[in-house]
């Protein structure tokens, strides 16, 4: 019978498929020459350095920017050997002379001009950061950049990965990206757009120390469980942010090591300061005292992170280390609420003021797995203060849309504090009255200090001004800092020379990383 024989054939096919494939996941990731396989935490949609520079620069090590940073966020030369401000709107960048792109062409001022102008055209964000108006090549080794408004953070913003310099041969004649050809320690060999996997080989002509690794491979594994399992099975050598609750278990696995680090990102709660009750500083302080940060870090984040005292984590050049923060103190919180006129007068367990109970909504988004449970923890802790908090989890863009319309109470996010490594950048977008009308913070002193910090040329004075602002912010608490963002890096014990760089967005590899023989 036809159907029967057909089904037998299909049956055999499926069975043979099962057997042939069941074993193939468990082979060691690296064999023969040195290679490192990395489990990337985001899905990879595209590999254009102008929009996904974090991937090509920090993780795949294909591209580099003009300016580099030290681990404490101070700027240092990279592809540009030095820079100086000629007048408020004009900058002169001197380029390294010993650099070649992966295709063998020379890295020079023309390449920088083409690359920066291309990036600006593609990604509107780069103009907002840099304020670049023109880029001109004065000669092979010098680039003159003018800005539309004075921007003392231009060098810092040229550290941002999306300003990576690529060769003209990266694109076809229609300007479409073929593959990024950069100056980094690794060359891109293969990119699979359906899975997002990248394969790189070492760049033997790298201008810095040539990597001891022969190959570097990146696999997009956006699911934390998958990353943890892949690491244990030996499919990958290195990853970050496995499920936090598995850190303790992974640490005990033979041949693996886990490191807890912090990166320049802070979990914060923003409030609508234009509306009651948040326009009362006593209420904001009460709320801050009412959040048990230590417990949140320990129980919700499984120790991955640190209770926050101010906007910047310790160890950054401009962090004000004298801040005391708001240690958990529910009694003081209740007292402050009472002083502000919020008391439970009708005995329903919720504080009220002029007959209006305090019912507020906290919005957050799910892309950072720590945020939703953190919001629920805050909700429970606020309940003890008599505050009725409702949480709403939504897409982060939906959250900003709602906030932009002005009808909101609180929102929680994991805010990058050194996207641009500058002591004023983050203060400027979050606290400057003209820039952040959404939260409605308006303090002329803060505005003035930020202005001064932005135009100040001397780095040490810049840092001092930033610290002054941080002190005012602590006194007024317009934003509640909750915790510094922790990054859990998990890797095989034989991964050598990995040093966590806190300026990374997630994690940053370097040409020094290799495999212990």
């Amino acid at each position: 019978m036809r159907i029967k024989s057909l089904s037998i054939v299909l049956c055999l096919l499926v069975i043979s498929l099962l057997f042939s494939t069941a074993g193939c996941g468990v082979k060691p990731a690296s064999s023969g020459n040195q290679s490192l396989v990395v489990g990337e935490i985001w899905k990879i949609d595209n590999i254009d350095p102008a929009t996904n520079g974090t991937l090509t620069m920090e993780k795949a090590l294909i591209t580099e920017t003009l300016v580099g940073t030290k681990p404490n966020f101070e700027l240092q030369p990279n592809l540009a050997s030095e820079w100086q401000r000629i007048d408020p709107n004009t900058w002169k960048f001197s380029l390294r002379k010993d650099v070649k792109f992966h295709d063998g062409t020379t890295f020079n001022a023309e390449a920088v001009k083409w690359s920066l102008l291309r990036a600006i055209q593609i990604n509107p964000q780069i103009v907002s950061f840099t304020k670049i108006k023109t880029v001109e090549a004065e000669n092979d080794g010098i680039v003159i950049i003018t800005t539309s408004t004075p921007n003392s953070d231009l060098p810092a913003s040229l550290h941002y990965s999306n300003t990576s310099i690529i060769a003209k041969s990266s694109v076809d004649k229609d300007g479409k990206m073929i593959r990024p050809i950069g100056t980094g320690a690794f060359k891109l060999e293969q990119y699979d757009p359906s899975t997002g996997d990248l394969k790189m080989s070492k760049n033997p002509d790298y201008w810095g120390t040539v990597s001891k690794l022969d190959n570097l491979e990146i696999r997009a594994l956006p699911d934390p469980n998958t990353r943890a399992l892949a690491l244990e099975k030996g499919e990958i050598d290195f990853t970050c942010d496995p499920p936090y609750n598995e850190l303790a278990r992974l640490e005990k696995v033979e041949g693996l090591k886990v490191e807890l680090n912090k990166t320049a990102r802070t979990y914060i709660i923003e409030m609508n300061l234009n509306e009651a009750p948040f326009n009362d500083v006593r209420v904001r302080k009460a709320m801050s005292y009412g959040i048990d940060r230590e417990s949140i870090v320990k129980n919700v984040l499984f120790g991955c992170g640190e209770a926050a005292k101010g906007p910047y984590m310790p160890g950054m050049a401009w962090t004000n280390e004298n801040l005391k923060g708001y240690p958990y103190n529910p009694a003081k919180a209740k007292q402050l609420l009472a002083e502000a006129g919020w008391q439970d007068s009708d005995g329903d367990g919720i504080v009220d003021h002029n007959g209006k109970p305090m019912r507020i909504t906290l919005m957050t988004y799910p892309q950072r797995p720590g945020l939703p449970p953190m919001a629920e923890a805050v909700q429970a802790q606020f309940k003890n203060l008599g505050i009725d908090l409702k949480t709403e989890i939504m897409d982060s863009s939906a959250m900003s849309n709602i906030a932009a319309k002005g009808k909101w109470d609180m929102k929680m996010s994991a805010f990058a504090t050194a996207m641009i490594p500058s002591p004023s950048y983050h203060l400027n977008i979050l606290y400057y009255s003209k820039n952040n009308k959404v939260i409605g913070y308006n303090n002329p002193d803060v505005d003035r200090l930020i202005d001064q910090c932005m135009v100040e040329e001397d780095q040490q004075k810049k840092y001092a001004l930033s610290k002054q602002v941080q002190q005012i912010l602590e006194d007024e608490e317009p934003v509640l800092p909750i915790a510094y963002y922790g990054v859990a890096v998990a890797m095989k014990s034989r991964v050598n020379n990995f040093v966590f760089n806190p300026t990374a967005h997630d994690y940053m590899l370097t040409n020094e990383v290799n495999i212990k023989e």
Binding site: L18, P193, T195, G196, D223, D395, S396, S400, N401
Partner: protein, 316 residues
């Protein structure tokens, strides 16, 4: 027959166009949010605050300030010429993007439908032949559970047991053929259960008919009665259901593709709905509604081929 097909095709195209209008409208339900969403997903990063200048730039670049009907008209005019536009997020032509993702979905669809048929058809027939025995009751109960089991939950149970417990298959992704197993089984369980129930009841119905009784009374062996006479007719309703299941599957199983991070059409569509990557959403909807309608048509035609009593095109 030819006229019938033409008529059906015309109706189908109208329905698909209307469906694309519907999704286009829905995606623009919240006015003004589109450029900010695109910025966050494609350019500045999810957690950054878009500036006014950036929003203006994206609005003009993708012509998002035009009235909706104009935007739709522009899209459909292009689409009719075979150009589905470029993705905002992936910055690839939509057709190319779908081409990249479709094989993974098609592979999953073919394998899981095959797997479900291999299990459900023989079991369904056996259940009908041995009706009201323990074997019958047991399999029907199993099928009931499989139908009621939410796919995402079944997926987790399978992951817990086979990936984490026995370490046999990958948890997610599509990098080796072994990663096909768990998503296939998850999908096949639900589909197989439905097919089994239909196969069984359709067999029972056929076996109660006169010509089977006649065949039996002629003294033919039970086995040959079933094989020669009953099976062929009992397959009709099964074809319908399997066809529809397959049609659905080609559009990507949203939930299963999400749980297993499967790089297929379903996952692409969901990601694009969130990112308001409108050209991609529209392209996926075209593909899904199109396949679905095509499969429907094929099912109807195969009916006509398998059952000589049905002839299309004459009734009106």
């Amino acid at each position: 027959m030819g006229r019938f097909i033409c008529k059906r095709l015309a109706a189908t195209i109208l329905v698909i166009v209307a469906a694309s209008m519907l999704t286009f409208g829905i995606l623009h339900l919240t006015p003004g949010s589109t450029p900010a969403t695109i910025l966050k997903y494609a350019f500045i990063g999810l957690e950054e605050i878009p500036t006014d200048a950036e929003i203006t730039e994206i609005t003009t670049r993708f012509k998002l300030s035009d009235p909706l009907y104009q935007q739709y008209y522009r899209w459909i005019k292009q689409a009719l010429r075979g150009d589905l536009g470029d993705s905002y997020v992936y910055r690839l032509p939509v057709a190319e993007l779908i081409g990249l993702r479709f094989p993974a979905t098609a592979l999953l669809a073919v394998l899981s439908v095959t797997l479900s048929l291999l299990i459900s058809i023989p079991l369904g027939i056996l259940c009908a032949v041995k009706r009201n025995t323990f074997f019958d009751h047991f399999n029907r109960l199993l099928a009931l559970f499989a139908v009621a089991m939410p796919s995402f939950w079944l997926a987790y149970l399978l992951i817990i047991v086979f990936s984490l417990g026995f370490n046999l298959f990958p948890v997610a992704g599509f990098r080796s053929l072994s990663s096909l197993v768990l998503p296939c089984v998850t999908l096949a369980a639900g589909m197989g259960a439905v097919t089994l129930r239909i196969m069984r009841s359709s067999m029972l119905e056929v076996m109660g008919q006169d010509y089977i009784l006649t065949a039996r009374s002629k003294g033919l062996y039970e086995r040959s009665v079933i094989a020669k006479h009953a099976l062929k007719n009992a397959f009709l309703p099964v074809v319908t259901v399997v066809g529809l299941q397959f049609g659905h599957m080609l559009g990507g199983s949203v939930i299963v593709e999400t749980v297993f991070s499967w790089p297929g059409i379903g996952k692409l569509l969901i990601d694009s709905i969130f990112a308001k990557d409108i050209p991609v959403v529209q392209g996926c909807i075209l593909l899904i509604a199109g396949t679905y309608a095509l499969v429907n048509l094929l099912v109807d035609l195969s009916y006509a081929l398998m059952d000589p009593r049905i002839r299309y095109g004459r009734e009106s």
